[in-house]
Amino acid sequence: MRFWRVIEPYIGFLLQGFALTIAACLLAIAGAVLLGALTASMRSSGNKLVRGIANAYGDVFRNVPFLVQLFFFFYGLPELGIYIGAFETGVIAMSIAGGAFVSDVILSGILTIDAGVIDAAKVSGLSRVKIFTRIVLPIAMRVSVRPMGSVLINLVLTSSILSTITVNELTGAAKIVAATTFKPFEVYAVLLVLYASLTTLLSFAISAIHHRLNRFMTGG
């Protein structure tokens, strides 16, 4: 198999890149969820200014290309005297861009909860913490598994753009392999199939979690 012959000597190198991709995605999804939760709570706030700031953040970071955002941070942060590595810059940029999408998901998850349900919980004498962990969170999670999953899949695809700021994640590693072997077609074809299978597997996993969390629902 000609594809395997080209790739085989560089498997270890590519796996290193793959590990970096996974690390970037995990850190970025954690950052995006934190930022998204904060933004979602700001967007549901009664204060007009707080709401405006949160809405503007979401609007701007969803309508500007990620590459431009990335360059803004990569070239801009050193201007401010903040010297961090390309990988860290990439994770920060991915978290900020992801947070804009996650805030939407969380907000719509919380909004699906009927006010009556929370009133009923209060009347039953549940504490505020209990109401949040036992009532609000399980219901919100049920509806937000799928949209959250598609944000995660998008982050995996977006992480390939980090290769443009010298991070040697999977795509960056593959670029080096293609340049060394002079076999760009084989290398990039394998890479494309790899990414596609990774994201397809992820979407199967997300479907499984969705069905697991919704197993008590009827007709859903």
Binding site: L67, S163, V193, Y195
Partner: protein, 223 residues
């Protein structure tokens, strides 16, 4: 005056970049929508052997990074087939196919949203296949598809920024040039971002108006 300062000519440079971005976006959108529509129609008529191929190819395009697709087309295909390809050709080919993959899914669900009874009824009235497609399926599927399509196109406009990586002189590439010359990343990238933002917002606004106009005919207007 230092060479590093901004000059009035930079505005022309930015406009040139915007022109390349918009031209490529409009071109790939038209090609992509046409291919996506064709695929959806082929898929609808169950031409033997076509369905699995279409589904696998469009899923692969939707589930892999556009940057990798660009590299495969720009570096891979010329090396494999021993042909020449300019960055603009590679960018047009890649973004068109990518748009087509997303458009196919939307058109397919648009076609599937139409009740089978309607098609049966049209057959009973003696309409032939192409008449059913043109008079029954197309208008309803279009009204159904416009909303999601606008969403995808706003996204594809942002995706076009990636073509700067393979050397197309689009808006992002101009940003790179200005950034390297002036060394003022905050101003340069904020301006580039603002231009993209305005373009995306305008596109979403226009799309919303078109959708409203198409939905008007679907709404029940009374007798």
């Amino acid at each position: 005056m230092r060479y590093a300062d901004f000059t009035p000519y930079d505005i022309i440079l930015l406009l040139q970049g915007l022109g390349v971005t918009l031209a490529l976006f409009i071109g790939t959108t038209l090609i992509g929508l046409a291919i996506g529509l064709l695929l959806a129609v082929v898929h609808h008529y169950r031409i033997p052997g076509c369905r699995p191929v279409i589904v696998v190819v469009t899923e692969a395009l939707k589930n892999s990074p556009v940057l990798v697709q660009l590299f495969l087309v720009f570096f891979g295909i010329p090396a494999f087939l021993h042909i020449r390809m300019t960055p603009v050709e590679a960018a047009t080919l890649t973004i068109s196919l990518n748009t087509a993959a997303f458009a196919f899914v939307i058109f397919r669900s648009g076609i599937e949203s139409i009740d089978r009874d309607q098609i049966e009824a049209a057959k009973v009235f003696g309409l032939n296949r192409s008449q059913i497609l043109r008079l029954v399926i197309a208008p309803q599927a279009t009204a159904f598809a416009v909303g999601p399509l606008v969403g995808i196109l706003v996204n594809q406009l942002q995706v076009t920024s990636l073509i700067s990586v393979i050397g197309v002189f689009d808006l992002t590439k101009i940003g790179n040039i200005l950034n390297l010359r002036t060394l003022q990343p905050f101003i340069v990238w904020a301006v580039i971002g603002l231009i993209y933002y305005i373009a995306a917002k305008t596109l979403a606004h226009v799309g919303g108006r078109i959708e409203a106009a198409l939905r008007k005919s679907v709404k029940w207007g009374g007798i």
